[in-house]
């Protein structure tokens, strides 16, 4: 049965439609893999019974020749997405036992299109982290290990459960979210594909909010084609999210023509950062050569404010988080710690319910928004954000898409960076600019490091031009021919 988990989403879809396999068989194979991979800690809640039920319903539809674009496809769902009747905690203690009475728009669209839910996936608490180590449910272990090493590595974050589950083939694809790189960096660390669409492309309704002007949902998948299929189902206008954009959703899969002749690809010189490992530099050059060979024109571009993106992000995101997380007060949902009066109850509940990184960010956010500091920090950061967006705008007058590395290193060890928040933050140096400017970005596996770990390349597109992004990614994927897989050490 393990052959079933070797199929890509596109292949499984076609075989289901052709009645060569059933969703019950496919989902059953994934449930077995999921249950046998608990050592990874990728799932925080398995919903095997629900999955079996949904698969059965899918099979009934498929039998009749009916069914949606994702009919019978088993998925893992990041625990940031509210799922009706299924515990949703954002992997925070403060949301203990929270069981939504409603479904997030994005997941409701996946079920509308026939997908099957395997369970809820681990993530950094409230998506705050780059290694999935801040989760209340504990760290996720990367399925990949260095050559000849036994050290447990991080799967990236915050969508570390999503990336690990897809890499270990314990989900055919997964939902994820990206505020500063949380889809793309975990994808790079696990040899998977992750796309963060344009801000406004996917509804944020029913997704636990971190930094509302930056948060976007997107998929983590095995291939670019799978990403295109998932993204189509996840996208679309939603009147319940006032920042959702009313634009038609293209058939992203049709964009994968393999033809990028004459495409102008920008190489931002500021991404050549100090101390970047030689192998990352080499991979980037290799990516440039692949695109050139496919007929693209390479253009040197400048994004002069790149180095200020991270510090600006660490003002804007905590500020928005401190405001968003004010709702966790022990009154309406989740944890309550009793106190001598209501303020004492708030303070004790939040002290017990939030982990160290979340507290750090809420306090930073409160500080930069407080009287006397608001202009110096928050307004200043918002102005830098304008300059970063302008950098991209100017670059896109000359080019169609940008090529960069996804992350400044391969996967690091669990516990290696937890004592130094700043060194952890630097992981997002290549991804965070994209969120600040609201642009779409995709990471795809392009090679292995000297240690035998996956490395990713990132493409950044114009707003609402995911089609060019996916088309270019498809060409790179074909050229890279990445087919390495981790050894299945986690199998119980």
């Amino acid at each position: 049965m393990t052959d079933l988990t070797k199929l890509t989403l596109a292949e499984a879809r076609d075989k289901l439609k052709a009645k060569e396999i059933t969703s019950s068989e496919l989902t059953g194979a994934y449930i077995k893999e999921m249950e046998g991979a608990r050592a990874l800690n990728a799932y925080v809640l398995e919903t095997a019974d629900k999955a079996a039920e949904m698969a059965k319903a899918s099979d009934a539809r498929l039998q009749k020749g009916e069914g949606g674009p994702l009919e019978g496809i088993p998925l893992g769902i990041k625990d940031l997405f509210c799922t009706e009747g299924v515990r949703t905690t954002a992997c925070s203690h403060i949301l203990d036992g929270f069981t939504p009475t409603y479904e997030s728009t994005v997941t409701s669209q996946l079920w509308r299109d026939g997908a099957v839910m395997l369970g809820k996936l681990n993530n950094d608490e409230f998506a705050m982290g780059s290694s999935n180590e801040t989760s209340y449910y504990g760290a996720v272990t990367n399925p990949w290990k260095g050559k000849g090493e036994d050290k447990a590595l991080v799967p990236g974050g915050s969508s570390g459960g999503s990336s690990a589950a897809v890499a270990a083939r314990t989900a055919l694809a997964a939902t994820a979210t990206d505020t500063g790189g949380s889809i793309r960096q975990p994808a790079a660390f696990t040899g998977t594909v992750g796309i963060k669409p344009t801000y406004g492309r996917c509804s944020r309704w029913g997704i636990v909010a971190f930094a509302s002007s930056l948060d976007q949902a997107g998929p983590i998948t095995r291939t670019v084609r799978d990403a295109a299929i998932m993204l189509k189902s996840m996208s679309g206008y939603d009147p319940k999210d006032s920042t959702s954009v009313d634009q038609p959703v293209p058939d992203f899969e049709k964009a994968l023509t393999g033809d990028i002749k004459g495409l102008k690809v920008g190489i931002p010189r500021e991404y050549r950062v100090e101390g970047m490992p030689e192998e990352i530099e080499k991979l980037w050059t290799q990516g440039i050569d692949w695109l050139k060979a496919a007929g693209a024109e390479i253009v040197d571009v400048s994004l002069p404010h790149t180095k200020y993106a991270l510090p600006a992000y660490y003002i804007v995101a905590p500020a928005e988080a401190s405001s968003n997380l004010a709702r966790y007060d022990g009154v309406r949902y989740g944890l309550r710690v009793e106190g001598k009066d209501i303020t004492d109850m708030y303070e004790k509940t939040r002290a017990a319910g939030f982990g160290a990184e979340v507290k750090r960010r809420v306090l930073i956010g409160t500080y930069v928004l407080s009287a006397g500091y608001y202009d110096a920090y928050y307004i200043k950061a918002q102005k830098i954000r304008t300059l970063i967006a302008q950098d991209f705008k100017q670059a896109y007058e000359k080019v169609d898409v940008l090529l960069t590395p996804t992350a400044p290193s391969d996967a690091f060890g669990i516990g290696e960076k937890t004592d130094d928040p700043l060194s952890m933050y630097l992981n997002d140096v290549f991804t965070v600019t994209v969120n600040l400017a609201g642009l779409p970005g995709i990471s795809l596996p392009a090679g292995l490091s000297a240690r035998g770990l996956p490395l990713g390349l990132q493409l950044i597109g114009r707003a609402f031009d995911e089609e060019t992004l996916l088309r270019t990614a498809g060409v790179l994927e074909e050229a890279a021919g990445f087919n390495a897989e981790p050894d299945a050490w986690w199998r119980a």
Binding site: F98, A326, I342, M345, L363, Y367, Q382, A437
Partner: protein, 95 residues
Amino acid sequence: MSVDQNTVRHIARLARIAVTDEEVAPLAKELSSILDWVEQLGEVNTDNVEPMASVENLALPMREDVVTDGNIQDQVTKNAPGADDGFFAVPKVVE
């Protein structure tokens, strides 16, 4: 710009997060190092630059001012740690 221990206590109070005496000193150090790092933004001339609150230059959508949802009191209070008779229950606020 460094954050001292009194400032940590003040912002923790504003954020409604209880901090113990042992937590204050390390928090002051961590927050200071993050804030010292963001100080580099001061190098950038931002005179005459508009602050960006959202990447979308769209006016917020308008709709008819009508009820589109409701009559789900039981669902609204279902997850509350304290709920009574369809209301959220909290410690006494007014003496």
